[in-house]
């Protein structure tokens, strides 16, 4: 199964890498600057509201409701725009946090924003109902029919509820990824529908030049980032390269490697350990992007993904026809050598986690003995990319430990052993430098959590543990 290994010519590794604690501190500093700016935009809109005398409007119930409605609208919209920027796949955010962390932040913000916007909706509805002396239902109808731009704002709010409701965990489990994705695109419609009423009737924007300038700039900034990075930049990159499937090879009973070729592949850029959103451009799949890590270091001969059969889409990969067009968005992720600060490296993979680990092993700058690879598999015969990892380890002088068999105790991430030693003891035996190395972990989420726990026990500092979380 693994004879293809000999056909692969290894890409030369990176010649140098910057190491040391300073690199990590610089990263933290940049992250803090970005987060500070983000929080200060929220402070700024609230401050503009207060400067405008917002806090003095508390003399009657309708005044209080009006103030709540204004403040929640300002803060909610500001957060909503940050929330949108977080999924724009902006390279400067991806490089600082990684696609997974950015996506998690986006997920966390979703519900609070809906609550804030709901508060705005309810407060203004009740305020107007009292002012007009109407029932809530009558006022709702009145606002929808009579007041300019309010109908579109209401539609936007409804869409927002749908988008958030379909994204809570219980609903995500019942929906297919594709169905969820299409519903989630409505979020853009939701934001656009709510824009007009902010500028025409919003008490804090309409007729105020400074505030108008701020909001127009923020909207434009987010819109341009989304349009360029999420839509146009991938199209431009793909048109230039024109990727097509050049070869499909079987790696194990349930994995295949898909090779892509095109003009000037080096223009795609990217690093080992990163992933792309992959669209197979045939009728069934063009609208269904799926994330896959490259399984060989970037080179000018091919782009390779090694894909395990886990669902409808991945099952179909084995039958891909040579010549099929492929559209890539990316590369994304910080599971790369960029995050390395130590001379020694420990790479730990399990099953589907092998591809990025294989690419990292190929491209990392290292002397013989610097890198230790632990590869957790069911059995030696049916382990994907094992042949390649073996020849890689041999050629570069890395230590490779293949850990085959069913696991020992329920909490162990290692196969059963006769002496029944704890995981941390066995880890230190296999990778003596583990506590002073950068550790890259990729595999199923529960397994990776268990590895992380063991790493904490052996004393590897948290900032040297790199785990690729599959979140999209």
């Amino acid at each position: 199964m693994n004879q293809e290994a000999s056909e692969i010519t290894l890409t030369p590794p990176n010649q140098r890498v910057r190491l040391g604690a300073k690199k990590y501190l610089e990263l933290k500093r940049s992250q803090d600057i970005i987060e500070t700016i983000a929080w200060f935009t929220v402070v700024l809109v609230a401050a503009m509201f207060f400067l405008d005398g917002g806090i003095t409007q508390f003399s009657s119930l309708t005044d209080i409701l009006g103030s709540i409605s204004r403040l929640t609208a300002l803060v909610g919209t500001n957060l909503l725009l940050i929330h949108t920027l977080l999924v724009a796949r902006v390279p400067w955010l991806d490089a600082l946090y990684g696609h997974d962390k950015v996506t998690i932040a986006h997920k966390k913000l979703g519900k609070p924003i809906l609550y804030i916007i709901s508060a705005h909706f309810l407060a203004s509805l009740i305020q107007f109902a009292i002012l007009d002396g109407k029932s809530l239902v009558d006022e709702m109808v009145y606002l929808f029919v009579e007041v300019p731009d309010m109908w579109s704002a209401t539609v936007g709010f409804t869409l927002m509820i749908v988008v958030v409701a379909t994204s809570i965990n219980a609903a995500r489990k019942k929906l297919s990824y594709e169905a969820w994705y299409i519903i989630h695109l409505l979020a853009y419609a939701s934001i656009l529908a709510a824009v007009p009423h902010q500028f025409t009737t919003g008490s804090d924007i309409a007729g105020k030049p400074l505030q108008t300038l701020y909001w127009v700039s923020l909207y434009l900034f987010v819109a341009l980032n989304v349009i360029w990075y999420r839509v146009l930049a991938p199209i431009v990159a793909n048109l230039g390269v024109g990727l097509k499937v050049t070869r499909v090879t079987r790696e194990s009973s349930d994995t295949v490697s898909v090779y892509l070729g095109g003009r000037g592949l080096e223009r795609l850029g990217g690093q080992a350990g990163q992933f792309y959103m992959l669209r197979i451009m045939n009728r069934a799949n063009w609208a269904k992007p799926h994330p896959f890590s490259i399984s060989a270091a970037p080179n000018n001969r091919f782009v390779r993904f090694t894909i395990g059969a886990r669902g409808d889409f991945t099952n179909a990969m084995a039958d891909l026809k040579v010549g099929t067009r492929v559209f890539l968005e990316g590369p994304y992720g910080v599971f790369t050598e960029d995050r390395r600060t130590q001379e020694k490296v420990t790479l730990i993979a399990a099953g589907v986690g092998a591809p990025p680990i294989r690419a990292l092993a190929e491209s990392m700058a290292a002397k013989p003995g610097d890198i230790t690879i632990l590869y957790r598999v069911r059995n030696h015969e049916d382990a994907t990319l094992l042949g390649e990892l073996k020849s890689l380890a041999e050629e570069r002088g890395f230590h490779l430990h293949v850990l085959a068999g069913s696991r020992g105790s329920a909490n162990s991430w290692l196969p059963a052993d006769e002496q029944d030693l704890p995981d941390q003891t066995r880890l230190i035996k296999m990778a003596p430098y583990v506590s002073e190395s950068d550790v890259y972990v990729c595999g199923p989420a529960a397994w990776a959590k268990s590895v992380e726990k063991t790493l904490q026990r052996v004393g590897t500092p948290a900032n040297q543990i790199h785990v690729e979380e599959f979140a999209w």
């Binding site: 806090i55 002012l131 009737t201």
Partner: protein, 178 residues
Amino acid sequence: MRSSSKTFVGLAGLGILVAAARAGMPLPDPSALANEPATNVDVGPTATATPTPTATATATAKPKPGTKPKPATKPAATPTPKPTTPTTPPATGTAVSQTSAAIRYEYGTIQVKVTKDAGNITAVSYLKSSYTRLPKGTLTYLVNASIQANGSNFTKVSRATVTTDAYKKALEDALAKF
């Protein structure tokens, strides 16, 4: 975010908000607006006539040394409107009215008739107000607010921003004719 940065963002953010809230406080306070024209009328003529009341005024302000700048600015601010009261000396009791131009805006037309008595707005009536989809009480509020503020310096009606602006335009147009 590191904890030191978190602390910085938290404290600085809070500081900015508090400062903004304090700075935003005195401007549109409705009670202040209601009182100011009244005190102007009381203090104005007496201050120009006899110097003794001003002396008592500054004396009462002095006991707060910590908040010196504030009492200092308030008497300084009040003298500026003072001249307006003496310069419009038509005999008290004779009300004069002026009509504004018809102000056309996004949702309709507004035209007002303003009545002044001894330099103070005493009544405003609508000759035209063609926009009907306003929050209840908007038009009455605008009239009351302009009488209280004795001009167009009052907070607008939320959800009737455009109408408020048009009303203010009409009001100022009429006031300019006095």
